[in-house]
Amino acid sequence: MHHYTFGDRVLSVTIYILLTLLAFSTFYPFWNALAISFNNGLDTSLGGITFWPRKFTLENYNIVFQDKRLLNGFVIALLRTAAGTVLSIICTAIFAYGMTKRELIGRKFYMVFGIITLYFSGGLIPYYLLIKDLGLRDSFWVMVIPGAISVWNMIIFRTFFMGLPAGLDESAKIDGCGHWGTFFRIVLPLSGPVLATLSLFTAVYHWNDWFTPGIYITKQNLLPIQTMLKQILNSNIMTEQMAQLDSAAQGAASRMRGITTKSLSMATMMVATLPIVMVYPFVQKYFVKGVLVGSLKE
């Protein structure tokens, strides 16, 4: 059908080269970190590790998984992601379902009340003082409760619910279901795609958020792994840890095992990204859909 001119060929080849370079430069830092995390630390410091480990070892991961604080950070991050996502999705979906009802008195007011918050916010400092006054500082719940209602997600849920067949509500009413019964027994089971998409984005936010715990939590045992990793990159923990390792008998052992700051932080980074990379292939189709839904409301 098409006949390609010489110019088209040049364009095509250029595009393939540029895209390959882009994909490579995106992939390489990750792959390189992975290779370093599996390589003997002392050997790494000799240089030259690019794609494959030279002296393969699991020792870096061994140290990371034996470090009680890092393990605790991993568990905190999992708990926070699970609690935060479930709470936010349920509360926001209930809110959104109520907002679809025409007979809801004050519906317009509620909508404007919510939408204003998308454009204006009090900013960091008043919010910080509010959290402090609510007594949420140094509490696990500061990572969970403030995200319980998302107006943004409410609008997406609402759009989805309004697209469901209208007859559903009617038949549920005839069967004696109230609003809550209809929501939980009929609407929610039909909302698979939107639930999956919004849960994914909410979960990714919770897993990746290092800043909230960073400013509201000072207790080390409540910090999720991302915030700890930030401290490691600022080499707070790491110097401490190395000092501990270097102390007395352990020092010789660590030198023999060939552990360095770099190899340890790479292994920690891999552990902190692992859940994202693991679920990523399965959820790709959902997030592409999610972006499109999200852009409609913009």
Binding site: A23, M99, G123, H179
Partner: protein, 320 residues
């Protein structure tokens, strides 16, 4: 019917209507119970802080609290405008966000245009899968990669440049202020180029295919088709995102700067409004001062968004 009777007839039901509304409100309590708690939640977590910005006009004292702290008018605003930090912070904010806009905004459009030309579906899917991934990684991880790549201790970037004989000794890129903006903008593009291209790819998918046929018959090659058909067709989408980007102009970045500019030597080039608010407010506990700076930023942002929208309305695309 005379006008007075109409008024009387309307006045009576209105009173009754209000009474009925209240009864109806309580009658649908189960429905209201789905919404009212969320509204109260929004009131607490969004409206109370909004009201709290008034402390920009106070000398907020943490022991006296909001209600008993003395009012000082525009003192903190004047202090900020006259402070030594004002011009560097404003310059950094504008330069960094303009750089992000000039480079970070067209980059995903270009990527989408290029992906659209790829006929090998497997190749396309692989590129997409790889380039979308960094969007889902936290800034901590991305900063970790950047630090590792650029490190003088066998960082791959230094090694590559050495192999190409472009430098003799490893350069400590992240502690030299002249490279910081480049690193920051590149890292941002690296993280989000793929994900941001999704929306443009979707817009391209909606372009009428007949136009390409017609253009091919007229002898337009693919490069011409790209710029004369595809690009103009997705222009409305581009403009809408452009307006949003301009409204965000003062959001020069926050997490990325906090994580990459850990070296205090970089403060001259890395301090932007948001990090300044954080540093002054959270780290130095100058609550009122930091709130004033934040409020200043919010006001400028609203003005920018309004201007951008006015411009866009001329082209027939506007947000409101």
């Amino acid at each position: 019917m005379s006008e007075t009777t109409v008024e009387v007839l309307q006045a009576v039901p209105q009173k009754r209507l209000r009474a009925r509304t209240i009864t109806r409100f309580f009658k649908q309590w189960d429905l209201q119970l789905m919404v009212v708690p969320a509204i109260i939640f929004i009131f607490i977590f969004s409206y109370i802080p909004m009201y709290g910005t008034l402390m920009a006009f106070q000398n907020y004292n943490i022991f006296k609290g909001f209600w008993d702290s003395p009012w000082v008018g525009f003192k903190h605003f004047e202090m900020f405008f006259h402070s030594r930090d004002f011009w560097p912070v404003m310059r950094n904010t504008l330069v960094i966000s303009l750089l992000k806009l000039l480079i970070g905004f067209p980059a995903p459009i270009l990527l989408a245009l290029m992906l659209n030309e790829v006929r090998k579906m497997v190749f396309k899917r692989v590129v997409q899968t790889i380039t979308y991934l960094p969007h889902f990684m936290s800034w901590v991880i991305v900063a970790g990669f950047t630090i590792s790549m650029l490190s003088t201790d066998n960082g791959s970037f230094n090694i590559m440049l050495q192999k190409l004989s472009l430098i003799d000794e490893p350069v400590n890129w992240l502690s030299a202020s002249e490279y910081f903006w480049t690193i920051l903008v590149s890292t941002n593009v690296w993280k989000d180029i793929g994900f941001a291209s999704i929306i443009y790819l979707a817009a391209i998918a909606g372009v009428n295919q007949d136009m390409y046929e017609a253009a091919a018959i007229d002898g337009a090659n693919r490069l011409k088709q790209m710029f004369l058909i595809t690009l103009p067709s997705i222009l409305p989408v581009i403009i809408i995102f452009m307006i949003l980007a301009i409204g965000n102009l003062l959001n020069a970045g926050f997490e990325d700067i906090l994580l990459l500019a850990t070296n205090p030597a970089l403060r001259d080039v890395s301090d932007v409004l948001d990090t300044y608010v954080y540093r002054m407010g959270i780290q130095s506990s100058r609550f009122s001062y930091a709130t004033a700076v934040g409020l200043f930023k919010a006001i400028i942002s609203v003005i920018l968004l309004t201007i951008a929208n006015l411009l866009a309305r001329r082209t027939g695309n506007s947000l409101w």
